[in-house]
């Protein structure tokens, strides 16, 4: 019966206690005030709220702590405490919190300050989630990657040009062909996205009138809102066959619909709005006085843009390109559907190659065995990818930040 499940579940019981605490504390100070709340230092509601948080917050905190202890225990194979004990401990913590808060409630008690301290602790906890996520990402990949490197030599992983996983063992798991595919696809994507994005940003911020801007800017931004799976499908059903039938086969360069070129071009389209909106911001931030100075010397508009505006905005544009590159390296669905699955070191852009992200997906879906290097390699790949993109992001942010200080 789900009704019984719900009524006797921990969250509902704790919430019940909290509401009891609220009314308890409120009633207590109201009685103490003998109906005249002017004698209280804080409103009865504040006393109630303090009791409410005194129940909820310690209970949730103890629940999280106990769960963590239990899970770590399970991981090590030790029986730390049963779910039943945990249930009662949390309830006890909630009850103690409530009772002590009610007992503290008196006419002179600064309940508003106390309850706001609780709220502030909640706010801090919420903002710590960001740090916890990063720690979680690093730890989750680090532990499994260490497992991997115990079974497989790091030299082979980083310097071998062979990728041939074999679920019966004896796999070759060199990252180089995957890295090559990743960089090749990203390179083609940037070759399309950077000129197109940059030129549309220049046109929109320097030439276009307000009407053109109000049409073209949202149009380009729609591209940014389209999920990557849509781009992936576009690569798979339209761009891939098109490139194969009209370029690769007539030129004798290969007969595969999924290729570096397919994935690269489609990814390039995806990145256009990235490059364009970020460079648009930085171009707009260049002070008008610099342009005016250039015009005064007799330069045409395009000369001003090329020789004054772009150099001034260059750090911001560099930042945009680096962010786009990090996006390209980490992009998954377009390459899964468009680039192919064959690990290959080749210069021919019409051949199917594969990337780090594709292999993370293929090694971690389907039947996985978390003791075998063939599965664990995905974590080492993930860590490499994370390190790569993190480096690019930090670099980009540093450049952009430094630039911002210049003109503001």
């Amino acid at each position: 019966m789900w009704v019984i499940d719900v009524v006797f579940s921990l969250p509902v019981l704790v919430l019940g206690l909290a509401i009891l605490g609220f009314t308890g504390a409120r009633t207590r100070v109201l009685v103490a005030a003998r109906g005249d709340i002017r004698s209280l230092s804080d409103l009865p509601r504040a006393h109630g709220l303090n009791a409410f948080f005194s129940v909820i917050i310690p209970a949730v905190a103890s629940f999280v702590l106990l769960s963590l202890v239990r899970l770590i225990g399970n991981q090590q194979g030790i029986e730390t405490l049963s779910a039943r004990t945990g249930f009662w401990v949390v309830l006890a913590v909630a009850a103690i919190g409530g009772v002590s808060a009610i007992r503290r409630s008196s006419a002179g008690f600064r309940a508003r300050v106390a309850s706001e301290t609780w709220i502030k602790s909640l706010l801090i906890a919420a903002s710590l989630v960001a740090i916890l996520t990063t720690v979680g990402i690093v730890l989750s990949m680090l532990f499994e990657a260490i497992h991997f490197f115990r079974q497989y030599s790091w030299r082979d992983f980083f310097f071998s040009t062979d990728w041939a996983p074999n679920f019966r063992g004896n796999s070759a798991l060199g990252i180089l062909p995957l890295l090559w595919g990743t960089l090749y696809v990203s390179f083609i994507a940037l070759m399309l996205a950077v000129p197109v994005g940059l030129f549309s940003a220049i046109y929109l911020s320097e030439y276009a009138g307000p009407r053109m801007r109000s049409v073209a800017k949202p149009l380009i931004e729609i591209l940014a809102g389209i999920p990557t799976i849509v781009y992936g499908l576009f690569a798979l059903i339209t761009v891939g066959p098109l490139l194969r039938d009209y370029f690769a086969q007539p030129l004798g360069l290969g007969g595969s619909a999924s290729s570096v070129m397919t994935a690269g071009l489609v990814m390039g389209i995806m990145l256009i709005p990235f490059v364009s909106s970020l460079s648009d911001d930085t171009i707009n931030a260049v002070p008008q006085a610099m342009r005016d100075g250039s015009y005064a010397l007799g330069a045409t508009r395009s000369e001003t843009i090329r020789q004054v505006v772009i150099p001034a905005a260059l750090p911001g544009i560099m930042g945009a390109v680096l962010l786009a590159a990090s996006r390209a390296i980490g992009e998954t669905m377009i390459v899964v559907l468009g680039a192919g699955a064959a690990a290959r070191l080749s210069l021919n852009p019409f051949e199917a190659m594969t990337t780090i992200t594709v292999k993370i997906v293929s090694q971690l879906t389907g039947d996985t065995d978390f003791a075998s290097p063939e599965t664990l390699v995905a974590f080492a790949l993930g860590l490499t990818l994370f390190a790569f993109t993190l480096g690019l992001n930090v670099l980009a942010l540093m450049i952009v930040r430094k630039y911002r200080e210049q003109y503001e």
Partner: protein, 442 residues
Amino acid sequence: MTTTANSLLVRDDRTKRRNAAELRFRAYGLGAIGIAALALVLLLSSVLSSGVGAFSQTFITLETSLPEAKLNKSGLRDPAVMAKVSTFGYAPLLRDALLTRIAELGITTSLSDKNVDAMISKEAAASLRDHVLANPDLIGGKVTMDVLADGRIDGYFKGRVTMESAARDGNTSPEALRVAQRLADAGVIETRFNWRFLTAPDASDQRPEAAGLGVAILGSLYMMLVVLVLALPIGVAASIYLEEFAPRNRLSDLIEVNISNLAAVPSIVFGILGLAIFINFSGLRQSSPLVGGLVLTLMTLPTIIISTRAALKSVPPSIRDAALAVGASKMQSVFHHVLPLAAPGILTGTIIGLAQALGETAPLLLIGMVAFVREYPAAYSHEAGLFGEAATALPVQVFNWTQRADPGFAERASGAIIVLLVFLAVMNTVAILLRRHFERRW
């Protein structure tokens, strides 16, 4: 200035070159915008044109006789006994009905019984069986039902299968298409709007005509609920702390750097996090909307935090000062005055964050949401807990269908994309309208 021909009114070569360069430069800019617009048009039109087919479906209207001797040998109308007759017992009945119909219409054909059988979807027998088991009294009489036509026949009426491609196809033949055309002329076969595409669960490899998005839409809905319930409060709380309370110190710097980095971490890394922490470490269920929702929450948080902080920043300090001046505490000034004024901006950011989460695919692949799920997941069950039953999600279903061999699934995948894009368009429009309606300049 040696010659007198250098008048300001006559353009010299250098000026002409410079003006030409100016024009060229402008043309590059327009060209770039043109490329972007063309890409958008191509993208949308290719998906739309290959996907509209999924919204209509070909049905055959058949009057099937249900002989007692075959379906209910025991003579007891006991559902448990009747359920022993599998779909293999029902398929010949449908075939006979279609053969009868063909004969009635006077269509002569060289098709064998087996070929006629292949014109009806394999799903049809299952739905006839379900219908009969639900209404045992039908046995012994006749029932008129619209059953699904096979994927190839369906493809023929949508233009995907042609006489030429059928000649090369082992699963159908030009003759079958000819018969189907005659049946369509007689009104027995009809192509019409297909609600089942939005409501039915996924179907196995051989029956693309029966596959639907029901489970995927439900799964996505559950995940969006989880994301909304978790990401909105956590994101708003974090933003309030960072924007209103955080002292300038190492810790708040660290948090800021973390948030901006998380916004740029590749989505697949969040999938690895989900697999390692939520599934392997915490023991939550694979393919469950709960785990999917948690992963998407972590991904959406930076988006929500960034837009919430922008909204809080746009509330002028005079509001806070006024509240403090009449005796409100800092907390009260934020919760009673700043937050309500920032609410429209927060809401807009949240909707955009949810739209992003709805389209995310890669991390969900890693936490097992690619599984084949035919049961509608319940929001709560005793064994699996809240949002614990296996489900898929809209974008993952698209990926799933692209991996299947039958060309009918390519159409389904594009159709699913259309559904996804409609959802996204609605969400973004609502966000834009909200922003327009509540936007306030101080």
